[in-house]
Amino acid sequence: MDMKNETFKQIINNQMLTEEESFFSDIEFDKNLTWKKIEKSVGKKNNYKTVIYSLAAVIILLLGISGLLFVNIQNQNLPTKQVSQNVIFLKKKSGIHSNFILKTIDTVEIIKIKNVYIENIFRDTINNYITISDTVFVKEFNDEIIAENDSKNTVNENYTLHISNEIPEKKKFKIKFRFGNNFESPIENQQSFVSLRTNL
């Protein structure tokens, strides 16, 4: 049966080869029109691909940017938390409450804990004074002095910082400052603490 099938196949295929040209000479095939259809569709597919890839790239980019922003925000939050923790710590140890409230913690940034950056600063460019609008704690002091505590003997009331350096012209700026160890720390062992409170 297989042999017969093979012979049959052979006969038919040979016959087809012989007749193919004459048979298809009567049948119309619009090659150009078919190619145009193909070209159009392939072009569209490529366009879709480009659009999809572009969209994917934009999404990845947006995710990347939002990720960076998120990390940045987290980084900003981290020292703020440290400040808050310090405040709580001080409250417990000293028993002082009213003078140790940190109001605008989001504008305070601590670097290495020892140095404090504050953005919410009112400045007086004529007298070269700045006033800090919130209570800030600095646990230890660094030798580097950029801004000094000008009211050396006042503990509870307003503090004004005298800037020894030039005040930056930018509206929003950061000032690195150090307060002098001019009063007794409320913490045991006479640890160097500074509290700063303004009337603003």
Binding site: M1, K4, N5, T7, F8, K9, I11, I12, N13, Q15, M16, E19, E20, F23, F24, I27, E28, F29, D30, K31, L33, T34, W35, K37, I38, E39, S41, V42, K45, N46
Partner: protein
């Protein structure tokens, strides 16, 4: 440009190479399609769909030897034909009417002219199996897998196709002769 270069170009989605490939094989692919659907407009549509599929799947094709490209393309185009027939629901295979041609019924040494016309006159089911088995060279097992039918159904449809072929030849008075006699 040889076949390997065409393959390389098509893998890069180069439009000029794609056109070249189309120019080379469009006619033969059209003829395959026509054998299945017996309508030149439908065949054109299938050729277009087939080439679109070929171009978009070129990254999956591995060139092995001369002829492998044509065989791969042919397979895609035949699949497109089968899909077309399935969509149109033009084929109805039934297991109920299993019919296997007896050896004595089949004249394997049949010789006829106008074979394309005879194929065109076959019902879709017979013609599809006939095309797949006799012309494309698929086995009954492969056909059963492609068309999702049983091997017996495939065999039955082929037997019927052969009988149909013989009947047409007899009715139309096509020339019948024994190849063995002819070869002498």
């Amino acid at each position: 440009m040889d076949e390997i270069e065409i393959v390389k170009g098509c893998k890069k989605q180069n439009r000029v190479t794609q056109k070249l490939l189309y120019e080379l094989y469009a006619k033969s692919m059209f003829r395959i399609c026509y054998r299945y659907v017996i309508n030149n407009f439908d065949a054109e549509d299938i050729v277009a769909d087939g080439f679109i599929k070929i171009f978009s799947n070129f990254d999956k094709f591995e060139y092995r030897a001369k002829g492998s490209l044509e065989a791969w393309m042919k397979k895609i185009v035949v699949n497109e034909c089968l899909l077309f027939l399935k969509r149109r629901q033009r084929i109805n295979y039934t297991d109920a009417d299993l019919y296997i041609l007896d050896d004595t019924e089949a004249d394997e040494n049949l010789y006829c002219t106008d074979i394309f016309k005879i194929i065109a006159q076959m019902p879709d089911g017979y013609r599809t199996i006939f095309n797949l088995y006799i012309i494309e060279g698929y086995s009954h097992k492969e056909i059963s897998e492609i068309l999702n039918i049983s091997i017996q159904t495939s065999k039955s449809q082929l037997s019927r196709a052969k009988k149909h072929l013989k009947n047409i030849i007899t009715v139309n008075g096509y020339e019948e002769r024994n190849i063995q006699t002819n070869n002498k």
